[in-house]
Symmetry: C2
Amino acid sequence: MSLFSKNTALSHLLKRHCETLCQEEHLSPEIITHALEKGSMVLLGNPAHRDVLPLLVGQPAKVKVNANIGTSPLRNDKEGELRKLAAALEAGADTIMDLSIAGDLRNIRQSMLDACRRPIGTVPLYAVAQRYIDAGKDPAEFSPEELFDEIESQAEQGVDFMTVHCGITERGAAWASEQNGRVMGIVSRGGSILARWMRANKKENPLLTEYERILKCARRHNVTLSLGDGLRPGAGADAGDAAQWDEVIMLGRLARTGLESGVQCMVEGPGHVRMNEVEAQIRGIKTACHNAPLYVLGPLVVDACPGYDHIAGAIGGALAVRAGVDFLCYLTPAEHLTLPDLDDVRAGVIASRIAAHAGEVAMGKASALDRENTMSAARKALDWKAMQCAAIDPKTLCAKRAEHAGEEVCAMCGEFCAVKMLR
Amino acid sequence: MSLFSKNTALSHLLKRHCETLCQEEHLSPEIITHALEKGSMVLLGNPAHRDVLPLLVGQPAKVKVNANIGTSPLRNDKEGELRKLAAALEAGADTIMDLSIAGDLRNIRQSMLDACRRPIGTVPLYAVAQRYIDAGKDPAEFSPEELFDEIESQAEQGVDFMTVHCGITERGAAWASEQNGRVMGIVSRGGSILARWMRANKKENPLLTEYERILKCARRHNVTLSLGDGLRPGAGADAGDAAQWDEVIMLGRLARTGLESGVQCMVEGPGHVRMNEVEAQIRGIKTACHNAPLYVLGPLVVDACPGYDHIAGAIGGALAVRAGVDFLCYLTPAEHLTLPDLDDVRAGVIASRIAAHAGEVAMGKASALDRENTMSAARKALDWKAMQCAAIDPKTLCAKRAEHAGEEVCAMCGEFCAVKMLR
């Protein structure tokens, strides 16, 4: 029995949007169907998300970019987050994750689903943990039932993809501790809550032991599972250790089980990885995870530039895309420091889009090369209008040029313009 | 006869500053001497530049960053450029190039030399061409004598390193034309002026035919020659073509001739190079140029992100450093659009420093790894003061944190902090 006969929600979604998807991705229906069936691609879209525009993520689709937004205890402003959502979409984000951890989460989530036709992702565990933290209680006291109820409730609400940290085990969490040689230990919020829960309850991760329950819910609503990397390295020095690979292997098994059950799965990846390790990491994870779409946070190739993690992440992201990554989660200049503001959101989305584009150019993707060639031809012709059309961010180009918008040459070279010199 | 006996200015400079240089670079006097003699390293510093702090560039010294500033016909403001100089130094630039092309160039240059103890570089051809352009004449009318006089005059004034486009030939310039398949033709300002001169005068490049005169002057003042890449690619599609390599080979020969004559030489490199070509380009140029220090502009791995060339350049720069590049010329967000303002200068220097650091981390350089480990330890301890000390740009870290400077956790996660969760 094929994926489509098991997952009828997906089957209907694809039928309804196939033509548009084929046009957007320059792919034939056969290629899309085949890639979805073998699991190298997923189609994000929960039919309960009103007017959702489904999105293909994975090979051979174009690389996509996600923007994380959401309230936090120190900055709890729903309207502000909705403005960030609009800014992220305007800058070209393909998806939005609502990582809110303060305020009325259900209400915030609904506002984001209403305001965004692009797929929305969440981390359901956050909502459960928040109730405990808000009540001054230990989040490790949550019951697995609460978590499964939350997943069910968010799926019904229309969330298109969910991060579930199913791969973290008691063994993996122990291996990721400083006692076992890690510099940073566990840095994933979801991973740290589950590690604390396992330690307190002396039980295995319920998201793993009761994975079947998640699959059942996900299949019904075509929620794509984003198998979270709770043990991802939080420092370049920690990348590639036993804890990380132990979880990766488990995520690969879970991705296969999911697909066999009619559930679409992505796998989440690092994190902090030095340049010399990026390609090995990406290819290793892809192989161990049967080429499931790989969704990475960065990777950050250096730790020492807080305030500029969008740049460190763009370096790693470009290398990762070239090595086969499918989906980039943005990093903003605020990462490791504070919640992003509107400018940070915009900077983060653009930096990730540049990384995606650089990787795709290096891979020789036709759509990426077309953009490059259009820009070069426009430059040669000193055609500023055409440059604007080809630019990843036309707005910034115009703003920089504003003072001399009427000039043929730019204010850097003036009549020293090399292009004009040889006409 | 060794380099030092031919170039007594260099010999004195090294003697006087050897101890400081050894401390800065964590290198022994023997290693420095040997690297200078074989030409894999240069010591920038013209004794006529009052109070200059000489700087080592090349393997195995740390990677250095240069900031280009200077007036242009559309933005001619000496004081503004001096503010940029200060901003660049404050952000951590190791050298400054004065690329002014408007105003009283000698006076501007002197102000910069006075204001900057770090080495200053120039492109003497600009001053010659400017006189013609300002007079409404064709810059191709300049006489070689004027150019050699300008070089002499700037050397006497104290300029520490000069870009001289000695490698561009009539053949190379023809090969670099659109008629021979280039998308962008020649994009170097110096290269385009010399190509125009050769075409108009039907003669070979005087900087090549009379290279001996440049060497004589450079040796006397220990001016380091930065052998310019007038035919560098101006689009990813043009990288690695016959015109580029023809010039690279010539630059390699000139670097060797220079060193044999007692003149320190660096080689300039691209430019626009796609990610998949960066390593091959860098290793190829290094080999063809006998491991002379390689000074690159970017490389820009994509053409389609004007307004963000500091990011496209950081991706390429990081890859280039990992492949052996020694010296990064910054690119600012203003590149291809206008003259940089103060914020652009700062953004450009920091982006290049991140690229240099990322490459050095990947190479396993001890000083770079130390910084990384210090940052990780500070993060683990939630020690914001220590993070600030380890950060490439402490100022931006503080600005982002300002609102919550007193808190132990950051405003992104609040009490959801993964580090605190498992304490």
